[in-house]
């Protein structure tokens, strides 16, 4: 076990430095389970690795694509009337490509914890009394997403990226092999560092 911890620390020390423990950006988004059931999601993003690639196009203009691996701890909730309220904390790992014109695409996965709260639950006890209960479920939650964004700093010098992020989430354990959700995030990323 201690060798495993040592190995993790060693790998972490080669990929991260003190500077990178500072978050690169903050994000806030509308989080709509099945689009219309409202919620909110907040996150901070740490850059794990960044690199660039440039190409000279036929017209002689250099095309630069910035790429990065990012880690984003997030928290959020959604409210689905008469079904459940979900509260989750989920780190996400993503691969991001940003073009020189500010168009951003990211692909990623996340894994975390979700607690659901089920509204208006009652029991009829053996003595014939109606009892109100507080019920919910604990889940291991994963998500799989693609995100499309526009970095406004390129044209407007505003350190904000707007994005839209459709995703599927899968929660376990649940009857029939888990429960799947579709959600849509629409939000902004505020860049803290100036690069």
């Amino acid at each position: 076990m201690r060798y495993l911890i040592l190995l993790i620390l060693l790998i972490a020390s080669t990929t991260l430095d003190a500077q990178r423990f500072l978050p690169k950006s903050l994000s806030a988004s509308y989080f709509g389970e099945v689009i219309t059931h409202p919620g909110l999601k907040l996150g901070v993003t740490y850059e794990l690795k960044r690199w660039g690639k440039s190409k000279i196009k036929r017209n002689g203009i250099e095309k630069v694509i910035q790429q990065s691996f990012d880690l984003s701890p997030t928290v959020g909730f959604y409210y689905h009337k008469d079904y459940q309220t979900g509260l989750f904390a989920m780190p996400e790992l993503s691969y991001t490509r940003k073009k020189a014109n500010g168009n951003v695409v990211a692909y990623g996965v996340g894994a975390g914890y979700m607690r659901t709260f089920i509204p208006h639950v009652y029991d009829l006890t053996s003595t014939g009394e109606i009892k109100k209960l507080h019920e919910g479920n604990n889940y291991l939650l994963t998500n799989y997403f693609i995100s499309f964004g526009k970095d406004l700093s390129v044209k407007h010098h505003i350190p904000i990226t707007m994005y839209i992020k459709p995703q599927f989430m899968h929660a376990l354990p649940n009857y029939a092999g888990g429960v799947t959700y579709f959600a849509l995030e629409i939000g902004v990323i505020y860049r803290l560092e100036t690069n």
């Binding site: 099945v34 907040l42 409210y79 089920i118 509204p119 029991d123 209960l133 354990p173 029939a176």
Partner: protein
């Protein structure tokens, strides 16, 4: 950063308040719309009670299928009861265990049918207590089968005061269930004669009569095409009866409402692989547990057996036999003319009047 965290905390607290705030429970109204869950063991049964709870009469609707969900049926108001039954009474809709909006890591039980009977009893008991109302069970198609099983299992301890079976067959597709194709043959014969007397598709119905005369028994045959007689029966029904009594189409707005504006998590709802397994378990159980033989055990309950004259899934010939098998003297048989397997859609006024007369 601190401010952001504070805001987040406030939002989370607000969300928790939304999810746990106590609703104003079970207020009697002529226009109730109460959605809640009733716990039975490890399962939370979603229930919608809508309509006139002030009437102190609740029609507990049991969905067919098996495996169809009931709440979407109510949300889309597929039978249009908002303007009929729900004006006079309240109607309770619930999703059977493992169907519709299931959530959590619950067990289905070793025998699904008996678990579903217990869930039904729990919902009925809860509604009676919560609303202080008289409960009338109303099962459609497979829902009627489940209701009969409930009546047999619970006997004198059953909750409802009355029962309504709508278009509910009792026979199954089991090879041992020889009655099914006896009734179906009779149905085709009677329908052919009726249609000819009404001057409809005379030449085609005469062909049916001729076919029936050379096939006095519709049974599985030997050889390469064992189901040829049953297939031919289905062909005649599809071509000559179904065209007049098709299923009511569901509109796009109902799908949109279900996806974006209902209590359903649509991906959990559409878990087809799981639903297929559940349905085959139920059908297997049904086939191994002959219900027809148990109907004489229904002794004292008051029941209305209702069907459509043109219902090919639950032929009136079968209903007439079911009616004779029910042990209780408190029973009524009603066959609605010009109606198929959804008599509440095909002849809504006559359906409504029949229910009203029975319930009052």
């Amino acid at each position: 950063m601190k401010n952001i965290l504070k805001s987040l905390l406030a939002i989370v607290c607000l969300a928790l308040m939304f999810s746990s705030c106590k609703k104003q429970d079970f207020v009697f109204s002529s226009n109730a719309n109460d959605m809640f869950h009733v716990k039975n063991g490890d399962y939370l049964i979603p229930v919608l009670v809508r309509g006139n709870t002030a009437s102190k009469k609740i029609l507990l609707y049991i969905q067919g299928g098996p495996g169809y969900s009931s709440l979407d049926f109510a949300l889309g108001d597929y039978p249009e009861w908002k303007n009929t039954l729900e004006i006079d009474y309240a109607v309770a809709y619930y999703d059977q265990r493992g169907t519709g909006n299931k959530q959590g890591n619950f067990s289905q039980g070793d025998l699904v049918l008996s678990t579903w009977v217990e869930d039904l009893n729990k919902v009925a008991s809860f509604l009676e207590k919560a609303y202080g109302a008289e409960i009338i069970m109303m099962g459609h198609s497979f829902g009627g089968d489940l209701m009969y099983r409930y009546m047999v299992a619970k006997g004198n301890t059953a909750v409802p005061s009355k029962y309504i079976s709508i278009d509910s067959p009792v026979t199954t597709d089991s090879d041992d269930d020889t009655l099914r194709w006896v009734f179906r043959r009779e149905f085709l014969l009677n329908t052919a004669n009726l249609e000819i007397s009404r001057g409809k598709r005379i030449s085609q119905w005469n062909e049916v009569l001729q076919w029936l005369s050379v096939n006095p028994e519709l049974k599985k045959l030997g050889g390469d095409n064992p189901f040829q007689l049953w297939n031919q029966w289905n062909k005649y029904v599809d071509e000559l009866i179904y065209v007049d009594y098709p299923e009511k189409p569901v509109k796009i707005k109902h799908y949109m409402n279900l996806v974006f504006n209902s209590n359903y998590n649509i991906l959990a709802y559409l878990n087809g692989n799981y639903k297929e397994k559940l349905v085959s378990r139920i059908l297997e159980e049904e086939e191994n547990d002959f219900l027809m033989d148990k109907l004489p055990l229904i002794q004292n309950q008051n029941i209305l057996v209702l069907g459509g004259r043109y219902d090919d899934i639950c032929p009136p010939e079968e209903l007439a036999y079911v009616f004779t098998q029910i042990g209780s003297p408190h029973k009524t048989l009603k066959i609605i003319d010009y109606a198929g397997h959804t008599s509440f859609i095909d002849q809504p006024t006559e359906f409504y009047n029949t229910i009203k007369q029975f319930v009052q």
